[in-house]
Structure formats: C-alpha cells, structure tokens
C-alpha cells in the first residue's frame, strides 16, 4: 500500500520547471531513495511534500488523504517529518531542548502551554530522550549544540525529525559533509531506522544508496527518469547516461 503518493507534481520558477510531472509512489515500510545529479530538483520535491513550497500543479496524497497545499507547520502533525541538508537546529539550545521542541509540537496535547513549567512534561521529555538515544546522543543530552562535532550535529538533525514520531521520514542528505568514518556510523543508524519508519532518502553517495534502499527513483532536470530496485537502477542505461555517466567513463 502506498503511504505517500504524488500525482503529476510540478513546481515552476518562471520558465524553469524545478520539478516537473513527478508521479511517485512510496510504499509503506520501505526505504525509498531519490537520487539525481545536483540541481535535479530533489530538495525542491521535499519542499513540496512538506508544504514549504506550494506546487504549481499536481497533487500530494498522504495516507489516502489529499494534503496538497497544507501549510508547512501542519505537515509534521499529519505524520510527515523531515531533516535538512544543511544542519538546521536551534543553536543556543541544549541537545535535549532541540529535540524537546519537536517532541512537544507533535505531542498528544498542548495543555498548560503558557503556564505549566516546560520541565513538567515527563512524556515529552521521555520521547525527546528516546529520539536522542535512537541516534546515539543520549549521553550528550545536556550539552549545548556548539560543543558537539559536525557529525553529531547531523545526528541531532535526524533526532529532531524522529522526535515528531512520524510515519514517514524525509531525509535530505543525512550524510552531507561527513567523513567516511562518520558516514559509516550514520548509514548504520539509518539502517537501524528501516522498518520502524517509512523512509524517503535523498543521497549523493552511491554506496550508501545501493546498500540501504529498497527502491530507487532517479531524477534528472526535474523529471523522474527511472524507478526500480538498486540492481535494476544500476543496470538502467538511461540512468548511467544521466547520472553515472561520468563515473562509468
């Protein structure tokens, strides 16, 4: 069953179609990767899916419900959370508070919003700590963001998305700017999340993609040019031309 589906989704900036006619089906429980050269429109596609940008045309269906045009701040409440390509956290906060803010947003209730002390929400705190331990940062919960490494900030980025307890996770290049060692750690982490969440992954590093994906969609100049299992994609001549061409030659 498809949990997230787009139908002829298009986003144009003037004459440029950043995303054009993209029809995508994400099956529940799978890890579905979206690859493509820089500027292929992958991040724009995420921005459309999460309501950060309104589509020019086409529809987005999440769990059988048309969510096209839903504002960005409503989307996480539906069960669709994202991480960002550039680390996008709350710099002055501790790690725990970073995650706490996301956990509270999608928590069961906002009762006592302006009156109850923020540290008197044990269930929100528990969920925030669980998200931190899912990414292996539980022992640094009290530290401020500026004291952790870039690799750990990427993990925190992921934890903020997890804290929303989403049904679908959209991960935009979680390994961006990481050393090979840190990348291995993060891949192991994403692999551990597989099965617990439906994951849509944008990534550049082909070895990661090929080893963790159930299905792969390939974007080129805003359009989908191929879709299949990792093996099918590796064999696809059009994909080789568009994306792997440089590597194969």
């Amino acid at each position: 069953m498809a949990i997230l589906e787009t139908e002829r989704l298009t986003k144009s900036f003037g004459a440029l179609a950043a995303v054009s006619d993209v029809s995508l089906r994400i099956e529940a429980g799978t890890l579905h990767s979206i690859i493509g050269p820089n500027g292929a429109g992958k991040t724009t596609l995420f921005n459309l899916l999460t309501g950060s940008l309104p589509p020019s045309s086409g529809t987005i269906v999440f769990d059988g419900r048309d969510i096209t045009g839903t504002p960005a701040h409503r989307v996480p409440h539906l069960g669709l959370a994202r991480s960002f390509q550039r680390t996008n956290v709350f710099p002055a906060f501790s790690l725990l508070d970073n995650v706490w803010v996301a956990a509270f947003a999608c928590g069961p209730s906002w009762r006592g919003l302006a009156w109850r002390r923020a540290d008197r929400y044990p269930e929100v705190r528990a969920r925030a700590l669980a998200a931190l331990s899912d990414v292996g940062l539980a022992d640094k919960a009290g530290q401020p963001v500026r004291e952790i490494s870039h690799g750990e900030q990427r993990q925190l980025e992921l934890a903020i998305a997890l804290a929303a307890a989403p049904r679908v996770l959209l991960l935009d290049e979680p390994a961006a700017g990481l050393s090979p060692e840190e990348t291995r750690k993060l891949v192991a982490l994403v692999r551990g999340l597989k099965g617990r969440y439906t994951i849509v992954l944008i990534e550049h590093k082909m070895d990661i993609i090929m080893s963790v994906s159930d299905r792969i969609s390939v974007m080129h100049f805003g359009s989908l040019i191929a879709e299949g299992t990792p093996v099918e994609i590796q064999r696809n001549p059009e994909v080789r031309r568009a994306y792997l061409g440089g590597v194969a030659a």
């Binding site: 701040h73 709350f90 906060f93 947003a105 002390r117």
Partner: protein, 315 residues
C-alpha cells in the same frame, strides 16, 4: 526562595526609602513595560519599536474612563490590560507578516499612526497638552492610594505579580517555543509551530503588560502626556531593556532602574544627562551584549577566579 527573588523583594522595600516614592513607583512601572517588550525582544527575537502604542493607548482609554466615569481601580487596570492586548493584536497582526528591517519599520510606522491620532484628537487626548486630571484610586480597604507611599506599595505589588506571571510564561512550553523561533524560525515552522501565530501571541502578551504599565503610569502622574504614545517612549523601553540585558528575565528590571534613576535624579543636576545614557549604550553594545546582567556575571566569574588563585597561592 532564590537569591534573585530575595534581591528584588529587598529592592522593593529599600527603594522608597532612598528615592522619592513617585520615582520608585515609576521604576517598577517601567519594569513592567520592559518585561512585556523583552518577551518580544529577548525571547522571540523581535525588535518592536512601537511598544508605546500599547502603553499610550491603554493610558488614554483607562485615563479617560477614570476621569469621566470615575471607574473602579481594578476595572481601570483590566481596561488597560485589555486595550494594551487588543491594540497589540491589531499592530502585531500587521507586523508579523514581515520580518527583519521591514518588521521594525512597520512597528515604528504604526506607532506614528497612533501618535498622530492622539496628537490630532485634542477633544479627547488634549493633544500636545496631554490628558490631565486623572484621579488616583480612592480609599480601598482603608488605604488611601492618593498618598504616595500606599500607591507605591500598590504598584510594586502589581509589579511582583507581573514578574511572577512572566516567569511562568518564559519557563512554560510557550517560552521555549518563542526562543526556538528566535533561534531558527524555519526549523520551528518545520517541526510544527505556526510561527506567525506564536509571534502574534507574544505581541498580545507583551501588549497586555505594556497596557498595565500605561494605566499605572497615568494614575501615578495624574496625566497622560502626549509623549506616552510617542516613539521616544518606545525607544526608551528598548534602550533600558538593552542596557539591563535582553537575554535575561531580570534584565529589563535592572535597565528600568538605571534608566529611570538617571533620568529622574541626574537630569536635575545635569541637563545633558542623555549623554551618559549614550555612553552606557555604546559600552553595552561594544563590550557587554548581554547588558548589566552579563557584565555582572562576568565580574562574578572574574572575582571567583581571583579568589581561587589567591587561595592556591596562600595554601
């Protein structure tokens, strides 16, 4: 009870003994005003240059009702809080649509709009002459608020209540969400907060505090001067809050003390006193971005280290 609370309570007791009660009362009134601004400035990261809109509107409306209908003091306070919040809802709704410099200019421009209404509408506001003849609340439970000292006690009690409420707000999830918006608006939206709605809420709460301060001010001096709704007052509260330290709940209180004390005490000795404020402001901006609160924290750290060093040398 922690040390900060004790220090404030001590200040409430000591202040009327060393300063004229009217000046002491003005310090706490201005502190309430600063608390409201700081929810926007320090916590949400929104520099509003139009806070006197809410302060002045509340002072005019409640002052007018006090003057012509002799309304009950608590009704006057309630009116002030309501008018402050309502005018802030109106101004805030327009301002939160924009960010950065445009936001600041909008708060300023709308302030000017309200100012000129007050300036022109002389039959109600008295224009440049101000609105005089606002009575202070009469006897209540056998205490006559027309005497300076009982009124001081009344004001400082309201200040303590305001501080307690603001402390609860900034320590609540709302306070944390506003700080998250200050830290990273885009991510706050992405994790599920309607940023514009939360900014508006901060405006309304800040407006309510400003409104309360406005009524207390009108009753303290018995007049609403035109300046109460002018950009000078808006600038003063920003100034005082920055000098005190916008990063802390207590910053605006210290700022209010410094500002009012300088303007009321030093101004009688030296007409060019704003020069001192200017120098203080430059020092804050250059060296202590967190204002007096940060300067004090750094001094304490330095002192601790010195003590530690000397104890090692001696031991």
């Amino acid at each position: 009870m922690n040390r900060k609370t004790l220090a404030i309570l001590a200040a409430v007791v000591v202040l009327p003994l060393v300063l004229r009660p009217a000046i002491a009362a003005e310090i706490w009134i201005f502190a309430i005003f600063g608390l409201g601004l700081n929810l926007l400035l320090g916590y949400t990261g929104l520099l509003s240059f139009g806070q006197s809109t809410f302060f002045g509107s509340a002072a005019y409306v409640a002052g007018w009702l006090l003057k012509h209908y002799g309304i009950n003091v608590f009704l006057a306070l309630g009116t002030g809080v309501f008018v402050g919040a309502a005018s802030a809802a109106l101004v805030g709704y327009l301002c939160v649509q924009r960010s950065g410099l445009y936001f600041i200019m909008l708060t300023f421009a709308l302030n000017q709009l309200f100012y000129f209404v007050a300036y022109q509408w002389t039959s109600v506001t008295g224009g440049e002459d101000g609105m005089p003849g606002i009575p202070r609340p009469g006897a209540f439970l056998g205490i006559d608020f027309r005497d300076p000292l009982p009124y001081y006690i009344f004001v400082s009690a309201l200040f303590l209540v305001s501080l307690w409420i603001m402390k609860r707000i900034v320590e609540s999830p709302l306070g944390r969400i506003l700080q998250a918006i200050r830290e990273n608006e885009l991510r706050a939206e992405a994790v599920g907060y309607n940023v514009a709605r939360f900014k508006l809420l901060a405006f309304v709460i800040g407006g309510a505090f400003s409104g309360l301060a406005g009524v207390l001010y009108a009753m303290l001096f018995g007049i609403v001067p035109l300046e109460a709704i002018s950009f000078v007052t808006s600038g003063n509260v920003v100034f005082a809050t920055l000098i005190g330290g916008s990063g802390s709940l207590y910053g605006p209180i210290i700022g209010s003390f410094v500002f009012i004390w300088l303007s009321e005490s030093v101004s009688t000795l030296w007409a060019r006193w704003p020069l001192l404020l200017g120098v203080a402001f430059v020092i804050v901006v250059l060296f202590f971005r967190g204002g007096v609160v940060e300067a004090w924290a750094r001094f304490c750290a330095w002192w601790q280290e010195r003590k530690w060093r000397s104890s090692r040398q001696n031991g």
